[in-house]
């Protein structure tokens, strides 16, 4: 059975990537499962999607703990323990990352035992953080690495993107072909069946605790500040202070309330919490805000 895990952020297209790969496997005659998994957070927060494909009925359910292939759309997830992108990787598994860094750097830095491949961002997409075609890129990468045929992949892309305009579907198909040509065919090997039949689960007894210990009352306000939503960003708004006319509009319109004004009216962005929606950039009458791709800022890995 093939087990593939896609990791991205809500809105980057990894649910669709999983569907493209799932549909491609299905068209190739496999039994397939594909399902996305989100937390309580929404667009911008880490999410994953899982695909299982097998020549016979699949009896496994739930998150894939022992992937044969892991595909990561957004390299900023690598250093986020909460995103859980690395667990379960062994010398058997293949890791593919959309990034401009080298495979060697990533392999050494993160001590990865298995094969590491990289998928460079499409050159004309650097300014958008490379995410406009991420579903097709990552879906196609999965199909190629698992040895599926190109015409089947194209059929799957057409099926999954059928509500989009013909022009956009064409772009995604072109990108799929490009990715197909870039990556080696069929290097992912099917993992072993783990569940021969029903197995008794390993129950763990958790002793009951007093509610005051297990769920203490919170008396302070705004505890959400402990959540650093700054790592949701793909693009970082940067204010050119020389061009800022101090109108305060970015401060007013930021839905997160993370742009404060200094005493002399200069806006300051709290990058620990800014989610990178870029409303500030769109509303700035002086065009004094730039969007800088996070992966160009360095220091992430």
């Amino acid at each position: 059975m093939y087990r593939i895990r896609f990791h991205g952020r809500g809105g980057q297209g990894m649910k669709t990537a999983g569907r493209i790969l799932g549909t491609a496997f299905f068209l190739a005659g496999y039994e397939v499962q594909d399902a996305p998994l989100y937390g309580a957070e929404r667009r911008g927060a880490p999410m994953l999607s899982s695909v299982r494909a097998n020549g016979k009925p699949i009896n496994e359910r739930g998150i894939i703990n022992n992937p044969d292939l892991v595909i990561i759309a957004d390299e900023s997830l690598l250093t986020l323990p909460a995103a859980g992108v690395l667990p379960g990787l062994t010398s058997h598994s293949v890791l593919l990352i959309q990034t401009d860094q080298s495979a060697g750097t990533i392999k050494n830095h993160l001590h990865i035992k298995g094969e590491v491949l990289i998928l460079p961002l499409p050159p004309d997409e650097k300014t958008t953080g490379g995410m406009a075609l991420a579903s097709a890129s990552c879906g196609a990468a999965g199909a190629r690495l698992c040895g599926l045929a190109l015409d089947i992949l194209e059929q799957a892309v057409r099926l999954e993107l059928k509500t989009l305009s013909p022009n956009i579907i064409e772009k995604n198909l072109a990108r799929s072909r490009q990715v197909f040509a870039l990556l080696p065919a069929g290097i992912v090997r099917e993992g072993k069946e783990i569940m021969a039949g029903w197995q008794r689960p390993h129950w763990i007894d958790l002793p009951m605790e007093e509610a005051s210990i297990s769920a203490p009352a919170i008396h302070g306000g705004a505890t959400s500040l402990n959540m650093e939503t700054g790592d949701w960003r793909i693009l970082r708004p940067v204010i050119r202070t020389d061009d800022c006319v101090r109108c305060g509009l970015c401060h007013v319109f930021c839905p997160e309330g993370v742009i404060s004004l200094t005493d002399d009216g200069l806006p300051e962005i709290d990058y620990h919490h800014c989610k990178g929606c870029l409303i500030c950039l769109a509303q700035c009458p002086a065009h004094a805000i730039d969007a800088v791709p996070e992966h160009d800022k360095g220091g992430k890995l």
């Binding site: 705004a222 959400s224 839905p255």
Partner: protein, 307 residues
């Protein structure tokens, strides 16, 4: 008493009590609306929140609110507000709460609740002249569950349950008029893209008693399919094209706080619609002139009947 007048952007509060770090989508228009409500209402509030996207703001142990917050089922926020208001009154009566420590009870619901299954509980709360503020953030669909249509979805919008070309067959319910027919203390429509108009209305409501009702336009990048940075631009276009009237009901009269330009001069609804993926089917692969004309005619008709 000193009157706060919001004349320019600079008069808006500098400090935002609502904490950052929430799980709401980047660019969420509802969060923008709630932020301004908290700016003006301050910290002595208790939000009574019906199930929807905004209930994710407070997932234990995290909350952006500095006051209190309570969760209710979709239909029941106004009933929850009644219980909370009564409890506060009893505490004050028994001298266990000083009147100056009283809290403002604020219902927070999505349009799915407000226009649909919560309408009856809301009607009852207005009948009983409950002293509360009601904020419906209107993202025109069931956002939290994947954007299915609600009774607030505009005609022609594609949603998870109206995915076909042509979009939603129904028409957005006129909740403002339904509420105003109850003759509560105050009813207003607002938009986060017009923070001055919104701040003035919240301040006005804050100084009144009884049911004070708000419908806030909440552009939703995730459900309406547009780039998150366009949230404010889309809100502004909704007002400019006349699709989202900014108005208030007080003392038996409805007045418009801002009117779009005359029919000849104001931008057509197309300018608003074409920015959003949920209306893309009106333009591609072929222009749907008939449906576009119908949507425009409804907006023109509304304003033709406003003196």
């Amino acid at each position: 008493m000193k009157k706060t007048i919001f004349k320019t952007i600079k008069d808006l509060p500098r400090h935002h009590p609502l904490g950052a770090g929430t799980p709401a989508c980047g660019g969420c228009g509802a969060l923008e609306d709630i932020k301004l409500f908290c700016d003006i209402l301050g910290e002595k509030t208790i939000f009574v929140n019906a199930a929807g996207c905004m209930t994710l703001l407070s997932v234990y142990p995290f909350t952006p609110f500095r006051g209190s917050w309570i969760y209710t089922a979709m239909a029941s926020a106004p009933a929850g507000a009644q219980g909370v208001r009564d409890a506060l009154d009893v505490l004050i009566q028994k001298k266990r709460l000083r009147p100056e420590d009283d809290l403002q009870v604020v219902v927070l619901t999505g349009d799915g609740s407000a226009y649909g299954m919560g309408l009856s509980a809301t009607s009852g709360a207005m009948d009983r002249n409950l002293d509360f503020i009601y904020l419906c953030y209107d993202n025109e669909g069931y956002g939290n569950t994947g954007h299915q249509y609600s009774a607030a979805t505009p005609h022609g919008a594609q949603t998870a349950t109206s995915p076909e070309a042509g979009g939603y067959w129904g028409y957005k319910k006129d909740l403002f008029s339904i509420w105003a027919a109850h003759r509560p203390s105050y009813v207003a429509t607002v938009s986060g893209s017009d923070p001055l108009d919104m701040a003035r209305k919240i301040k006005k409501a804050k100084d009144l008693k009884g049911p004070r009702m708000f419908i806030a336009l909440a552009p939703c990048p995730t459900g309406w399919h547009y780039d998150p940075k366009e949230t404010v631009a889309i809100g502004k276009l909704a007002v400019k094209t006349g699709i989202w009237p900014l108005k208030e009901y007080i003392d038996g009269k409805v007045t418009h706080s801002k009117k779009p330009l005359s029919k000849e001069k104001r931008p057509g609804v197309e300018e608003y619609l074409e920015k959003q993926g949920r209306f893309a089917h009106l333009f591609k692969p072929r222009r749907n002139d008939e449906l576009l004309a119908e949507i425009q005619a409804r907006v023109d008709d509304y304003w033709d009947n406003i003196p």
